[in-house]
């Protein structure tokens, strides 16, 4: 089948890939037309691209740099060669607290407070405190685990 061979050499993949690409982009374009007909397509496009930029160009570099700073401050290696590093006792609660924040930051920071109060008759006041409490507990548990570990390694 010389045609197929030509496709592979010119295009870089086989025919299944090309079919999947056409189907995928056709459906995506259809969906964009629906968005254009149903709401504001420019704002949609802006937020779509902003989501990529916010993650790839802001969030990822930010948490990577924080990770490097933490790594250099604490040091990568534990006292005992095979044990877990002290670093992870900071990373784990930070990561878990960060996950809760990334999901519930609008309530934690009181964004959309007016809409929230109007809709629900409740306010967003408790959420910052609750997140701080959750984070505090996570770090405290981690600190205790580290203290136990240190003690065990000394004896």
């Amino acid at each position: 089948m010389p045609e197929m061979g030509k496709l592979r050499s010119q295009y870089g993949e086989g025919p299944l890939h090309l079919l999947a690409v056409i189907a995928s982009f056709a459906i995506a374009t259809y969906a964009f037309f629906e968005i254009a007909a149903g709401t504001a397509p420019i704002n949609f496009a802006i937020w779509f691209v902003a989501a990529i930029v916010a993650h790839d160009m802001l969030a990822f570099p930010l948490y990577s740099v924080l990770g490097v700073i933490a790594g250099e401050a604490i040091g990568p290696r534990p006292a005992a060669p095979a044990g877990p590093t002290a670093l992870n006792y900071v990373r784990v609660p930070a990561l878990l607290s960060g996950f809760a924040f990334i999901v519930w930051f609008p309530l934690i920071l009181g964004f959309g407070e007016d809409e929230f109060v109007e809709s629900t008759g409740l306010d967003t006041d408790p959420y910052l405190g609750r997140w701080l409490l959750l984070s505090g507990v996570l770090f405290a548990v981690s600190a205790m685990a580290y203290a136990v570990r240190l003690r065990r390694e000394r004896t």
Binding site: A40, P84, L96, P106, E115, T120
Partner: protein, 430 residues
């Protein structure tokens, strides 16, 4: 090979485009495949329950469709949403929001794991590779867009200038279309990684035995790995714990009862107190701009059907046969609460309007504007004997925030279609 690569300088720019830039010894095809395999079921649950939610609104009736104009007059609608079990919508919608929230840590881990791919050099090797990367922009943007618009929606924060439902709904089409293409390309990669390393075998390695995956062209395995500071099972354990924790904290507002307290950060983990009307509200009377004066003595329920319209005062409704049903009010935002509602059966009101047998009803509210100041109910929903025009809840009159003088409550119907402050019901033969 068509040398698209020749369009770019052979030497990559400095920084992340250098393959030695990426140090983590944990990245590689196995980790990517494992995270993808963990994320996929959550995405599928979330997407399927999302499309079910669309069906639950009966988009083909009246003005029920809220996904936009339907530019080509096509609607993804596969069956008539049932009224049994009554908790069906609470279940599917709870599952949807729980799976969506629980997916976040895995999604972020997946993006971290795949990040070196963003800085591949050359940026395009072949036309196929270029299209793959374009599609990846739709995949990454689509996943972040769909998940985070959903997450902001359940917290009622709308910072964007588009209407949420069509953008979220059709944004999901873009995301899922890109996901299918991604799977076509990546399932063979995952199969190879699992065949070489085993699906779970790398999870057995502790820190001392954690080795980087072998560096190969076009993969995320590091060429200059640092020594590991955690094992893969530790990393995945933390991600899994995050996912589970967020899931449990979201489940509390679906399951309710004592579990609601677990939903520490979820928007619907508290009501107002212990009274009969003190459970959570989706739209207050203030937000709906209901003038309390219009809900009292002058209020009449207007029934249109066959023949002369009927007008009923609240006293007249209370004098009819009243029934009490324990039914959940289940919100599209993934929280629900079951209460005891007392009122008149919808089918009795249909009979009063002179409509026998199969009918539809357009329910309108005193609320003058807003998408959900009206809803059209299907004949199966009218016929269900548990479907009520509720006048009381938990033995007390409805509060104005819960829809006084009268509200609709139908088993398995999305909460926003259980119209509050009902002013008229127009029955038509279906």
């Amino acid at each position: 090979m068509p040398e698209l690569s020749k369009l770019f300088p052979g030497k990559p720019p400095p920084g992340p485009f250098q393959r030695d830039f990426w140090k983590s010894p944990l990245r590689g095809p196995w980790l990517n495949s494992f995270l993808g395999s963990a994320l996929l079921p959550l995405i599928l649950i979330c997407a399927l329950t999302g499309f079910l939610s669309h069906v639950a609104y009966y988009p083909e009736l009246g003005d029920n469709s809220i996904t936009g104009s339907g530019a080509i007059g096509f609607d993804l609608y596969f069956f008539d949403w049932p009224t049994t079990p009554a908790w069906l919508y609470a279940f599917t919608q709870g599952l949807r929001v729980i799976s969506g929230v629980a997916a976040i840590p895995i999604l972020l881990a997946k993006l971290w794991s795949a990040m070196p791919k963003l800085f591949e050099w050359p940026p395009a090797r072949t036309p196929a590779h270029m299209l793959d990367r374009l599609s990846l922009a739709l995949l990454v943007g689509g996943s972040l867009f769909v998940f985070f618009t959903g997450i902001l929606n359940i917290q009622l924060w709308y910072p964007w200038g588009f209407s949420f439902v069509p953008a979220h709904y059709y944004g999901a089409f873009i995301f899922l279309a890109a996901l299918v293409l991604h799977l076509v390309g990546k399932i063979p990669v995952a199969r190879r990684a699992f065949r070489e390393k085993g699906v779970v075998r790398p999870l057995r390695d502790d820190l001392a035995h954690t080795e980087p995956e072998a560096p190969q062209e076009h993969t995320t395995a590091p060429h200059a790995p640092a020594s590991p500071t955690m094992s893969r099972r530790f990393l995945l354990g933390v991600i899994g714990a995050g996912s589970l924790g967020l899931g449990v904290m979201t489940a509390g507002q679906v399951v309710g009862g004592p579990f609601r307290k677990l939903a520490l950060l979820s928007p619907r983990n508290r009501g107002f107190g212990d009274g009969p009307n003190e459970f959570m509200v989706n739209t207050t009377a203030a937000e709906a701009a209901i003038n309390p004066a219009t809900t009292t003595t002058d209020w009449r329920l207007r029934l249109d059907g066959a023949g002369t319209p009927v007008e009923l005062s609240r006293e007249e409704l209370l004098a009819m046969d009243l029934y009490t049903e324990s039914l959940p009010i289940a919100c599209v935002e993934g929280w629900s609460t079951t209460q005891d509602w007392t009122g008149v059966r919808l089918r009795d009101l249909a009979a009063l309007a002179g409509i026998e047998g199969s009918a539809e009803v357009l329910v309108q509210s005193l609320q003058e504007s807003g998408t959900f100041n009206q809803a059209t109910l299907a004949s199966s929903q009218i016929d269900d004997e548990r479907s009520l025009l509720a006048l009381q809840v938990n033995g007390a009159d409805l509060s104005i925030d819960h829809g006084f003088p009268a509200r609709v409550i139908v088993p398995a119907l999305p909460g926003v279609h259980c119209t509050k402050w009902v002013s008229s019901m127009t029955f038509t033969d279906a």
